[in-house]
């Protein structure tokens, strides 16, 4: 259901003018609200009899002329990217392993794997981080990384399983009929196709992983937020809290938006160059969490055996 035009007759000149007027009025209202917020932030305020400069006053931003501050911020970015990169590699590896176990033909491999997946999916990542930190006493970095691997690994496993289940049956049958073993068919024929098909959703999941490294803030890993808000914030004082927050937000948005667009671009590319027939275009919007559920249900209904769950 794209385009509401089918729902009603094409608007005439009066309806179009009305819609344009509405659009302008709404636009002005939104713009007005934005201006009001900025004016309020910029206005100087008094707190306990002390006059404080507005949020956009130079005295709240001057630390950013110091290259040392940027060096410090860069350290935080590197720490976040480091944790995210290690966790991403681990999560994909774990995901591959789990998808193979989960789609195994042997029930006593498949069913316990399903339970393990349900267990790790249902828990908050933060609780897992605390668990690893307290029980394994690994230090904050590994607590963050291992928890992210376990959580995202199970999700990527489910995504890949869905990819495997969505392949046309003929692929497997052809592989078996030319004399390949079960395992060879999985690794050489089915898996590469499933991986390619699911790549956009996996990339979208990696954006979630990157966002979740910020939970390191709570368990004491010096990633961007902890670095900027806690360390720089307490060094330079409360006056710079707002500007540090804005800078942190800008950094995160830049990285995440670029990755999200990359995922969508991948989805478009694989969709246009992808298989014809089959089960149609598989991935609509990789960044929409509903897509994952959709894809999983398809895998469940496609996989043989009523005990799949």
């Amino acid at each position: 259901m794209t385009g509401a035009s089918v729902l009603f007759d094409a608007p005439g000149p009066r309806a179009r003018r009305l819609s344009l007027i509405f659009s302008i009025v709404a636009g002005l209202l939104i713009l007005g609200a934005a201006v009001w917020v900025i004016m309020t932030l910029a206005a100087p305020r008094t707190s306990g009899g002390i006059n404080l400069p507005g949020m956009f006053d130079g005295s709240r931003w001057n630390i950013f002329t110091d290259p040392a501050v940027w060096g410090f911020i860069a350290e935080g970015i590197v720490a976040t990217l480091q944790a995210a990169a290690v966790a991403a590699v681990g999560a994909i590896a774990l995901g591959i392993l789990l998808s193979l176990l989960r789609s195994s033909l042997i029930p006593w491999v498949r069913i316990p794997t399903a339970w393990v997946i349900e267990f790790f999916r249902g828990m908050p990542v933060l609780l897992m981080m605390l668990f690893i930190l307290l029980v394994a006493s690994t230090g904050a970095f590994w607590a963050v990384v291992i928890a992210l691997i376990l959580y995202n690994g199970t999700l990527i496993g489910e995504i890949l399983r869905a990819g495997l289940a969505a392949l046309p049956k003929g692929q497997r049958e052809a592989a078996l009929s030319v004399g390949m073993r079960e395992f060879q068919s999985k690794m050489l024929v089915e898996f590469p196709q499933a991986f390619r098909q699911m790549l956009p959703i996996i990339v979208a999941q990696l954006v979630v992983l990157l966002k979740d490294t910020s939970l390191g803030y709570i368990v004491g890993y010096n990633e961007i937020i902890r670095n900027n808000i806690n360390n720089l914030g307490s060094f330079y004082g409360n006056r710079y809290l707002f500007s540090l927050f804005v800078v942190t937000l800008a950094i995160y948005l830049t990285i995440n938006l670029l990755l999200s667009w990359f995922a969508r671009w991948l989805a478009r590319r694989t969709a246009s160059g992808g298989r014809k027939g089959g089960r149609g275009r598989f991935v609509e919007d990789p960044t929409n969490p509903a897509t994952l559920l959709h894809v999983e249900a398809k895998a469940d209904t496609a996989s043989e055996g009523p005990d799949a769950r």
Partner: protein, 215 residues
């Protein structure tokens, strides 16, 4: 075991706060998300742009950073509210775009042919939407919405890092105080989260499977 048992009232108190966080932020995110989704498909261009902007920004901001804003920056800007209320605000803001996207994907999931068929047998706009499109969109929306609430359940734990004593904060405190039974305490907390998330996940999966087959 006895020691763990004696901690149960504390656990349940934390669990209660988690449930309150879930209920209040869930309902308000549903309201806000519906509003955003309505803007997103409205014929008014400015609203569409605003809703798309909101969705992109809110979805790509880490929840921790949202909590930094509500718990640290907002008080500095002169907003004096209890931390529980600030947590409601953060969770609602963060969850709203996910609700909006779930609703939108439900409406987009109804094939165009359905509306075309309805129009071609002479139904008007109101009839087409209320009798043909929305009933189908609604049931496609329920499973992803349940998934959004599962994610919200897990996300309430972040509030525990920002002065709200819910299940995660309670667990951390108890684990610090009872060094000899840390594992048991953490597993109890995990079980309490799983009590909410696993049945919900099962329900979402079943509904989605049933409707996927029928479609």
């Amino acid at each position: 075991m006895e020691q763990l048992w004696s901690l149960m009232p504390t656990f349940l108190e934390g669990f209660r706060v988690t449930l309150i966080l879930l209920a209040v932020s869930g309902v308000s995110a549903l309201v806000l998300g519906t509003l955003i989704a309505a803007m997103r498909i409205s014929p008014v261009g400015a609203l569409r742009v605003f809703a798309a902007f909101w969705t992109e920004i809110a979805r790509n901001t880490p929840l921790t950073l949202v909590f930094i804003f509500t718990a640290f920056v907002m008080p500095m800007l002169g907003v004096r509210l209890p931390y529980l209320i600030l947590a409601f605000i953060a969770l609602t803001y963060y969850t709203s775009p996910f609700v909006a996207e779930a609703l939108r994907s439900g409406i987009n999931g109804v094939p165009v042919g359905q509306a075309e068929a309805a129009r071609s047998i002479g139904l008007g706009f109101g009839q087409t939407v209320s009798l043909v499109v929305l009933p189908q969109a609604f049931r496609m929306t329920i499973p992803p919405l349940i998934n959004v609430f599962i994610a919200l359940t897990k996300n309430t734990s972040v509030a525990g890092g920002f002065f709200v004593v819910e299940l995660f904060a309670t667990t951390r405190q108890l684990a610090n105080d009872n060094g000899n039974i840390v594992i048991q305490i953490l597993l109890t907390a995990a079980a309490l989260y799983l009590v909410i998330t696993v049945p919900l996940g099962f329900l979402a999966g079943q509904l989605e499977k049933r409707w996927v087959v029928r479609r």
